[in-house]
């Protein structure tokens, strides 16, 4: 019986080309890890930059920051931003053009999000299929994509408040843009915590992001 099932599986795999495709194509895995590196550098150097003149009344411990001092942190920040943006453009273009975002992240309804959130809290949410996101996952991925757009836009508003004055005023001025930039960072950092915990709880998902399946 077991042998027969294996034969059937193998037949199905070779007969249906869709099954042979990896869960995460190479471009998704590559851009995922480049993005992860860029985001970590941006956040840790950003904490050091924040410490020079905190926009919210606290400082990050120096031990968790990158750059050593303001000038070093700015060098890291303004280097990694090109990686973040170039990599982001590639994967946004791919995600939209290939239909991957539409397939993976839509449709999403508030009702489904609430139902899946409760199911998740009761520990009843299945991760049997890595290529099929539940509504909470869809919400988190869509949310972090939006936050990445907001953090890049507010970053430009802080970097070029004269050349892109319209963008800076959109965020309520220079200090407003700093606050938005900070809050978007906090949202992304929160996402990373959940994302990493979930990946460790379902190690197969981590393997899939490395090997493709």
């Amino acid at each position: 019986m077991a042998g027969q099932a294996a034969v059937l599986d193998a037949t199905a795999a070779s007969a249906a080309p869709g099954r042979a495709r990896p869960i995460h194509p190479l471009i998704v895995r590559l851009t995922h890890w480049l993005n992860a590196a860029a985001v970590v550098v941006m956040i840790l150097s950003g904490w050091q930059i924040h410490n020079a003149y905190p926009i919210l009344p606290f400082r990050f411990p120096d031990g968790v920051t990158l750059g050593g001092w303001l000038g070093g942190a700015l060098l890291w920040h303004f280097a990694a931003m090109w990686l973040l943006m170039a990599n982001g453009l590639v994967i946004f273009a791919y995600g939209i053009a290939s239909g991957r975002y539409r397939r993976k992240l839509l449709p999403i309804t508030p009702r489904a999000v609430i139902a899946d959130a409760f199911a998740a809290l009761r520990g009843e949410l299945s991760h049997a299929r890595l290529d099929d996101y539940n509504a909470v996952q869809k919400l988190l991925y869509l949310g972090v994509l939006c936050l990445l757009l907001v953090i890049v836009a507010s970053g430009f508003a802080i970097w070029k408040p004269v050349q892109f004055a319209w963008l800076t005023s959109l965020f309520g001025g220079f200090q407003g843009a700093r606050i938005v930039h900070f809050l978007a960072m906090a949202g992304i950092a929160g996402f990373i915590v959940i994302h990493v915990v979930m990946a460790l709880l379902v190690p197969r998902s981590l393997v899939a992001m490395l090997r493709g399946r």
Partner: protein, 261 residues
Amino acid sequence: MTRLFAPPRVLSRSDQRAFVKEALRRLDNPARRRFLKGAASVGAFALLSGCDITDGISAEGALRAMSDFNDRVQAALFDPVKLAEEFPESAVTRPFPFNAFYPREEAPAVDPADYALEVSGLVERKDGWTLDKLYALPQVSQITRHVCIEGWTAIGKWSGVRFADFLKLIGADLSARYVGFTCADGYATSIDMPTALHPQTQLTFRFMDEVLPRIYGFPMKLRMPTKLGYKNPKHITEIFVTNDYPGGYWETYGYNWFSGL
């Protein structure tokens, strides 16, 4: 853990002069990229692994190259006719913050009687400028926002001569790449010619309708609302026009040179 570019300590005046002189000498050197070698030994790896790889890969070269790339991107983004926002007098920040690499008491006291601004480099008329001659030039005012690299901002009112007018008066080569500044407090910086010619770039003699106070840069500063605060030199003693990259005080430590807003 190795720090990326140690922040400077407060030095005595003579130490500052010696330091800046040495720094600028090194900047002139083709090997200036090595000035900070070792200071940037892969902060990220040291940070993540908790160990120090001083003999390992140095990230400094790559970071410096990216900063040079960012200079070029910013030069391309710079719109020579785009004006920085101007404000009503009621928006002025009081008191206006003092900021320098030394405490307020150490701001230099320049004697106006024997002061003369030197102009040099690619200019036709190199005679010095007394304050009376400078004050006699047509003056303009601006109320603009000063943006510090640290993240704070302050609005002030500055008056003086439009820098583009001054450059034309001295017969500067307007196709040269850089304008450099030497200052009485041992500071130095340099800017690109398009920013030097921007309509809001001002050789400033007055602050809040009074003679520029000592702590804000007497006898003159260069005011540019299109660049970060530290690019606005105070206590200027010499202005030079050149095609050789002159660098600057904070730029030597790793602050980005163009730093346009």
